[in-house]
């Protein structure tokens, strides 16, 4: 069963630099397949830094996340935290 949620991006850098690195690292560390993309567009594999950054997601944009696997819920919780925390408060 896949779960999904749509999150509004808070970090000023959008999904680049540190937020993007943390995002991809988090996906890799969980047992779940995660895809990401615009609410009404194509999804890309979230464990690829190239794919994630090429989405060009900026501050205030919405991002749809779809996860499948044993860690699906927990990975989405963690990704939501990363995407909704201002960059300077983000703990590595």
């Amino acid at each position: 069963m896949s779960v999904e949620r749509t999150v509004e991006i808070v970090p000023e850098a959008g999904l680049h630099a540190r937020p993007a690195a943390l995002f991809v690292e988090t996906v890799t560390d969980h047992e779940a397949d995660v895809e990401a993309g615009p609410p009404d567009g194509d999804l890309v594999p979230a464990q690829s830094m190239i794919a994630v950054t090429s989405l060009g997601v900026g501050q205030g944009d919405e991002l749809r996340l779809v996860a499948d696997g044993p860690d699906a819920e927990s990975v989405l919780d963690e990704l939501e935290r990363i995407l909704t925390t201002p960059e300077d408060e983000l703990e590595a």
């Binding site: 540190r18 830094m49 900026g58 300077d88 590595a92």
Partner: protein
């Protein structure tokens, strides 16, 4: 004539002659037609990724420690690009088709680099990230090694695509004759760093630079913004002559015998020796906040003590003017948790922070300074930044008393330094007489003073025409400050950009300044300007400059 001349942007108005050492040489890919052992290439790729990851982690940690978490984040991003599964599978597949690992890596990244290059803004920067990661892998796969920047032979001219903060920090100005880069502009990190070390440098020379080979003799002409390849005898002689001829080590006086102290502005221990080498009489502005940047917690008392003692030992016969912590405004220190303010330049900065939220840091700093004053060879002077009221000054002086009492309690040797006030606010100009009665000296910080007198943001180019200290309003403010200080037996220095401009030395001497402090690189020029000035004749011109109505009239009196 040199065999070839490349033109870019000069970063430092100095020339240097030396031998080319490439930092990041161009990579030559293996011949793709040669048969390769698939398994061996796969292993080589895996090893290269592993090594690259280890390098990135080391650089990440070093940058986080030295510069800050924000700057280190780029390495985290690079690690994720390095381990991108899309790249990995493309490389594996390509190796399976008989391509050497290096060519496979080049192909796999190339496609995505092109894709990002076609995009705008932040997305285009990702192409740079991918190029960096690709080149790192290719260097490992083709056996190319980076030279150790901290250990270069004397007279090296470093050539590079670009130099990062961690690269430039390793360069030793004692052995490096200069550097030149393919990319970068006047305000790039490398350019700013070069200026602070008075290191000849030209940036933004373009792809042509890649043609210049290791071991070639070149002149880095930072004045003209050129790189002269295989210079002729005249060009070589000119570069060598410039390297030393200008420096006047002795104290200088005007042609009619008024001694003027010409000092350097410094912010880091590494800038002390270059300042002395350029003939600075001492330090007119030690920006102590630089000791607090590039790290994750404030330096303790001993570390600050040692930094200041080093400065005093570098100028045993001179004076070292240390400015206490000046943060806020545009200077942010992550671990101090500075508030977000609507107008940071009009907010809690300079002494305002030291007297309240940073009172503990301030007292620690003052203890370090008092101890250094007793042990260091030179004469320590301490000044407070952004003072606007007499109350602030009196509280600051009381903080010095408290620091002295702490040291008395601990039985530690110390010496009370001469104290001073930085004149940066219009209030300080009007209160200069009251300040001068309470301290030994005033020092005019023209960058901030101009910003506040003219109400023109230093960083806002739209009001750049107002941000000029030769506007009569600023000239009068300087004149008034000097007059009031002298009337109350205080000496007056200047430590803004204006002090380092030899075109206005005549005006500044005429206004009565006793000391001028500037970037090390301009010290020789200003020393020459001082020795060519007749002080008695400048007085009248300066008086006129204080009476005229417009900036162009001020400029006429300077001519």
């Amino acid at each position: 004539m040199a065999a070839r001349t490349l033109t870019g942007t000069g970063a430092t108005p100095r020339s240097g002659l030396g031998t080319v050492v490439w930092y990041d040489p161009e990579i030559t890919l293996p011949d793709a037609d040669e048969a390769v052992d698939e398994n061996a290439e796969r292993d080589r790729f895996a090893d290269a990724v592993e090594t690259a990851r280890a390098e990135l982690e080391t650089e990440r940690d070093a940058t986080a420690e030295r510069v800050g978490e924000d700057e280190a984040a780029i390495f985290d991003a690079h690690i994720q690009f390095l381990e991108d599964p899309t790249i990995e599978s493309a490389v594996e597949e390509s190796i399976g088709d008989g391509r050497p690992a290096a060519n496979a890596v080049d192909d796999a990244f190339g496609e995505h680099i092109e894709q990002f290059e076609g995009m705008e803004g932040r997305m285009a920067e990702r192409a740079d990230d991918l190029r960096d990661v690709r080149d790192r892998l290719l260097r490992l796969l083709t056996g190319g090694e980076r030279v150790n920047l901290a250990d270069l032979p004397e007279g090296s001219v470093v050539l590079a695509e670009r130099l990062t903060p961690s690269d430039t920090a390793q360069l030793d100005p004692e052995t490096v004759a200069g550097f030149a880069t393919v990319t970068g502009g006047r305000t790039s990190h490398a350019a700013i760093f070069a200026r602070s070390l008075a290191l000849p440098a030209v940036v933004g020379l373009g792809e042509e630079l890649n043609d210049i080979e290791n071991g070639t003799e070149v002149v880095v002409d930072g004045e003209a913004g050129q790189l002269l390849v295989e210079p002729d005898d005249d060009e070589r002689a000119a570069a060598q002559a410039e390297e030393g001829a200008d420096v006047i080590e002795a104290a200088v006086e005007t042609s009619d015998g008024r001694e003027i102290e010409v000092a350097a502005n410094v912010g880091r221990p590494a800038e002390l020796e270059p300042a002395a080498a350029r003939g600075a009489d001492g330090v007119g502005l030690y920006r102590t906040e630089f000791l607090f940047l590039d790290r994750q917690s404030p330096p303790d008392e001993d570390e600050q003590y040692e930094a200041i003692r080093d400065a005093l030992d570098t100028f045993p016969e001179g004076r070292v003017v240390v400015r206490t912590l000046d943060i806020g405004g545009d200077k942010q220190i992550p671990y101090l948790d500075l508030p977000e303010e609507e107008n940071p330049f009009l907010g809690e900065r300079g002494i305002r922070r030291s007297l309240d939220p940073d009172a503990e840091l301030f007292r620690t700093q003052l203890r370090a300074l008092l101890r250094a004053g007793a042990d260091g060879a030179g004469e320590l002077n301490v000044m407070f930044p952004l003072v606007a009221t007499v109350e602030e000054l009196e509280e600051s002086i009381a903080a010095v008393d408290d620091a002295a009492a702490d040291l008395d309690d601990r039985g530690i040797d110390y010496e009370r330094p001469s104290l001073g006030v930085m004149v940066e606010t219009p209030s300080a100009v009007f209160m200069a007489d009251e300040f001068a009665k309470r301290v030994e000296f005033l020092s005019i910080g023209t960058n901030d003073l101009t910003q506040y007198v003219m109400a023109a943001d230093r960083e806002n180019e739209r009001v750049g025409h107002l941000h000029d200290p030769t506007h009569p309003g600023v000239v009068r403010a300087i004149g008034r400050t000097v007059e009031q200080a002298h009337a109350n037996d205080a000496w007056v220095g200047m430590c803004g950009e204006m002090a380092g401009n030899p075109d206005v030395t005549d005006l500044l001497l005429g206004l009565g300044l006793d000391e001028l402090s500037m970037s090390a690189v301009t010290v020789p020029d200003v020393k020459v300007a001082v020795s060519e000035t007749e002080y008695s004749a400048t007085r009248e011109r300066a008086d006129s400059a204080r009476r005229v109505a417009t900036r162009s009239e001020v400029h006429e009196t300077i001519q």
